[in-house]
């Protein structure tokens, strides 16, 4: 019996290995997508089109993920620079011919679909930095750090002028994560933190738009503009707080269902979950995210190549930052920036990009090649 069981595990493991699928990752993804669709079904209310389209994106994304995983990691490594350059060109096009919403140009309208090139860069930036660094000696030299920073800064700058400060910072930090994991010297890290602290007032004065400054002000005092920029923060905290321990029940959240909560199906969807499923729901979701991040970290730790380690590690950290920033801003401890909650917020490009990334993660997980 014991042997049978072990053998069965072995066979299924080896089968999944042959298909280049990481089962724990797939299981956690499925769990997350289920939670996401459940919450979206509540948040989107009667607008079933959101639910349908998100489901289609998830299905298509899963196919993409499995397809991506079939290619050896070396293949993706070779194509990284091409993806990166394509992303840069798309970002340039967004600025030239992009379509906008709420005063920012973020989408490219391809007729059939609208894509958000900034989402694509979330993946290609850490891959580009990892690809640049892993050919060289680890840890990187000052020049290599500088080049890696430039590679990161170009797309970040293009996104910043859309303007989309939140995504720009996240893209920039995803490049930094790759650098950090590549063993950049501690003095550089300390120095960077120092520069960041010193330049913060300058950024406040010269770099931030009025609405961005307002968002930071409202973080500390939402009531200063209760019906304007503070509205989202106040209403989302009311939604979360009134959810209590067990929540009001699926589709029973008054804040969510009566439209008090803005952006309830996109950036603020965690407030819907918190209101309807309570703290328990929040903890379950956090646990799933934590397990997912740990699994990716585990893949990074066991990756056969330095490229794989750096890419997987950066993705784990990027995923974590997305979750942290999104849940932090909705709960009123971080300024409001346009960051979706991975796999839960509605958004086609984000889902496809994430699943593309998970395809690469699976390629890394099943990669045996030596560096």
């Amino acid at each position: 019996m014991q042997r049978d069981f072990v053998r069965r595990i072995d066979t299924s493991a080896s089968r999944s290995r042959r298909l280049h699928i990481d089962l724990p990752l797939l299981a956690l993804l499925a769990l997350l997508a289920t939670i996401g669709l459940l919450v979206l079904a509540s948040a989107a209310g009667d607008q079933l089109s959101y639910l349908k389209r998100q489901s289609v994106f998830l299905l298509v994304g899963t196919v993409v993920m499995v397809a991506v995983a079939q290619f050896p990691l070396r293949f993706w490594e070779r194509w990284t620079i091409a993806f990166y350059l394509a992303g840069i060109i798309l970002l340039g096009l967004v600025l030239l011919v992009g379509v906008g919403a709420k005063g920012a140009q973020r989408w490219l309208d391809l007729g059939v679909v609208r894509i958000q090139p900034s989402e694509l860069m979330k993946l290609s930036v850490p891959m580009m930095v990892a690809s640049f660094l892993h050919h060289r000696a680890i840890p990187p030299t000052a020049l290599e750090v500088f080049i890696a920073l430039v590679l990161t800064a170009i797309p970040a700058a293009l996104i910043l002028v859309q303007p989309d400060l939140g995504t720009a910072l996240l893209i920039f930090s995803s490049g930094l994560f790759a650098l950090f994991l590549a063993g950049v010297a501690k003095r550089y890290i300390v120095g960077a933190v120092g520069v960041a602290i010193v330049s913060a007032p300058l950024a406040w004065l010269y770099l931030l738009h009025d609405y961005q400054r307002q968002r930071i002000v409202t973080l500390f005092d939402p009531s200063s503009d209760a019906l304007g920029s503070g509205w989202n923060i106040i209403q989302s905290q009311i939604a979360i707080g009134s959810g209590g321990l067990a929540g009001k029940g699926w589709r029973q959240g008054t804040q969510s269902q009566l439209d008090f909560l803005p952006e309830s199906h996109t950036d603020f969807i965690i407030a819907v979950l918190a209101e309807e499923f309570g703290l328990i729901g929040v903890l379950v979701l956090l646990t799933v995210y934590l397990l997912l991040i740990l699994r990716i970290g585990f893949i990074a730790a066991n990756a056969a190549s330095v490229f794989g380690k750096l890419v997987a590690g950066s993705m784990a950290l990027t995923l974590f930052v997305y979750v942290f920033v999104n849940m932090g801003m909705v709960a009123g401890i971080l300024p409001v920036v346009g960051v979706p909650l991975p796999f839960v917020s509605y958004g086609g490009t984000a889902v496809l990009t994430l699943l593309f990334g998970f395809g690469i993660l699976m390629a890394i997980a099943t990669d045996k090649a030596k560096n």
Partner: protein, 616 residues
């Protein structure tokens, strides 16, 4: 600068894994921060946020009570509430009102009157209470608004009952009308009673019985979305509807009275003698009360107010006219009761009456050549309306006695009818003249008063009450319009004026002969069907010197005499008393009396005598 270079894959892996571990620890700490934050919001501050979520979604709204209905004595509806769709705005949710009004105006036409009325009401409205902007939306307007409603924050389409007066003009004065609460009213009324109501009784029964018709507000707890739209009803406390009022009015008689007077300026009051209930109370010209319900436009209102015919003026209740000869029977009765004269007292009438020491004689208005002749007694003086007889007798009776009885018969004193704005008229007396004009009373004043001229002013209602009290042989008939509230009848106490029975018999006979006698001034309306007692009257509009002739062709139509008539029937068991005036109608006998006859015919047909009286 020393630079360590790791070449071994194992050492590289160790470095990267070390960094991974470090990042993992930082991530765990950060997630712990999230857990702390969410626990803080969802556990520690849970109750606070539940309250705020409920405050967000739950609104308590006042529910307007349906206004009481008004029926005639037979249950015919005179004032009802008609369902209607209205466009209202919750100002607090609308943001920029001017922009919103501009947007709405692109969907449905908004008049300047509607906008200014809305702004007025909006200033007084309780917070979050919808304020009406446009009433009586058409189907098409309702549909267009329903489509655009989600783009118009604060806009609500509500089914709101509107007051409607199906019989319109004929009842406008007595039933009255409701209209929008104005600033003056808002200052005096209790706002809690009008939280969801923007109109109030302005005149007539609607105003007098406002507190009964109003009802009491209910409340409802509703769940609203962020735009303030009601999503569901959580709890409801039903409003108490206003009381339904049943009037003593008979709509058939009222309509007929209105039609009989239509086209002239006049008033008619008919009273049910047994109860004092007013059967008909018409004033012409009239107006459409429905125009006031949702606010009348300035132009329309000015046209009504500035019309020389004064259609808004309730002549029956507030029109003060000299009673003319209609008070002669009463003054004759006073002289009998006070034993100034007896039934056999006669005078010689050659058409003039002189007082000692007064050079100018008083002329008999009714007789142009030679007076009523010799041996004129009280009956003849009433039947032929002889002025000289009453000059003589009234001087003998004295104004104080006449005034004292006059007030007992409702002259110069408010009747106490349950309608607002009743005029008191003037029963002149020495005391009155001293107080009001600060001059002494002269015998000439008594002579003028004796034929209902001079300072004498009465309302048609007062004359009807006088007639009812005469008809009932001294029953202190008190007029009323509302008979019952929610089916419960009001009390109408009766008192008696003490007059000796033979005097009544004599007086009723004389008044009957006004119609039935050969020389009766109203002999034209005599009928075989039933008996009528009455008295004609002519009220002078301008004064004419004793030596001038009244030449109708030279007089402007508005300066011609008013025609009056009072009557009751049947004489033996009087049931209905009528008084009416036709302004500038000139002759009580030919203009006013036939109107009374027509109405009496109708009444007799509608209310056949309870028991057949022989010779009736």
């Amino acid at each position: 600068m020393e630079r360590r270079v790791f070449i071994q894959p194992e050492t590289i892996a160790a470095l990267v894994n070390g960094r991974l571990l470090f990042a993992g620890v930082v991530a765990l700490l950060a997630i712990a921060v999230l857990v702390v934050r969410y626990s803080h919001l969802q556990i520690e501050r849970h109750h606070d946020f539940v309250t705020r979520a409920d405050n967000n979604r739950i609104q308590v709204r006042q529910v307007a009570p349906p206004r009481g209905l008004i029926f005639d004595r037979n249950g015919l509806l005179l004032a009802e509430n008609r369902p209607s769709y209205s466009l209202s705005v919750v100002v607090q949710r609308a943001g920029d009102i001017d922009a919103l009004l501009a947007k709405i105006a692109q969907i449905v036409p908004l008049s300047q009157t509607e906008i200014s009325a809305f702004r007025k009401s909006a200033r007084r409205a309780a917070p979050y209470q919808p304020v009406s902007l446009k009433y009586r939306l058409s189907e098409a307007e309702h549909a267009r608004l329903a489509v655009a409603e989600h783009q118009l924050d604060g806009v609500e389409i509500t089914a709101q009952p509107l007051r409607h007066y199906p019989l319109g003009e004929a009842f406008a004065h007595v039933v009255g009308y409701v209209g929008k609460i104005n600033d003056r009213e808002a200052a005096t009324l209790d706002p809690s009673h009008y939280a969801a109501i923007d109109s109030i009784g302005k005149s007539g029964v609607e105003r007098y019985y406002e507190s009964l018709l109003l009802g009491e507000h209910g409340r409802e707890q509703v769940e609203t979305d962020a735009r303030g739209r009601v999503m569901q009803l959580l709890a409801r406390e039903e409003p108490t509807p206003g009381a339904n009022l049943m009037l003593s009015l008979d709509a058939r008689l009222q309509l007929q009275a209105y039609q009989l007077l239509d086209g002239q300026r006049g008033a008619l009051v008919a009273i049910d003698i047994a109860s004092g209930g007013v059967l008909a109370m018409a004033s012409t010209p009239s107006f459409d009360p429905n125009a006031f319900v949702t606010g009348i436009s300035h132009n329309q209102y000015n046209a009504l107010i500035n019309s020389p015919d004064k259609p808004m003026f309730d002549r029956a209740l507030r029109g003060q006219y000299p009673p003319g000869s209609t008070i002669k029977p009463l003054f004759g009765l006073v002289a009998l009761q006070e034993q100034v004269i007896d039934q056999h007292y006669t005078i010689e009438d050659n058409g003039f009456f002189s007082l000692p020491n007064v050079e100018r004689p008083w002329r008999d208005w009714n007789y142009k050549t030679g007076g009523h002749g010799s041996r004129v007694d009280l009956a003849e003086a009433i039947i032929e309306s002889c002025d000289v007889f009453f000059y003589d007798v009234s001087i003998k009776t004295g104004i104080d006695a006449l005034a004292a009885y006059g007030e007992k018969f409702a002259l110069g004193i408010k009747t106490g009818i349950d309608l607002p704005g009743e005029a008191a008229g003037i029963m002149p007396s020495a005391q009155w003249k001293r107080q009001r004009l600060n001059t002494a009373w002269f015998d000439g004043d008594t002579i003028n008063a004796s034929i209902g001229q001079g300072f004498f002013l009465t309302t048609p209602l007062q004359l009807a009450v006088m007639t009812a009290r005469i008809a009932s042989r001294g029953d202190l008939v008190t007029p009323f319009v509302v008979d019952a509230s929610n089916g419960v009848q009001f009390d109408h106490p009766h008192q008696q004026i003490e007059i000796a029975k033979p005097h009544w018999d004599y007086l009723h006979r004389a008044m009957q002969d006004v119609i039935e006698g050969q020389h009766g001034t109203a002999r034209g309306i005599a009928t075989d069907g039933y008996t009528i007692a009455g008295k004609t009257g002519t009220a002078q509009v301008i004064s004419i010197a004793a030596d001038e002739q009244y030449d109708r062709d030279e007089l402007d139509q508005r300066q011609r005499d008013h025609a009056l008539f009072v009557a009751f029937a049947p004489v033996q068991q009087p049931r209905i008393a009528i008084a009416l005036i036709v302004e500038n109608g000139e002759h009580g006998s030919s203009v006013a009396a036939p109107i009374a006859r027509a109405l009496l015919d109708h009444y007799m047909a509608l209310y056949p005598a309870p028991s057949t009286v022989a010779g009736g």
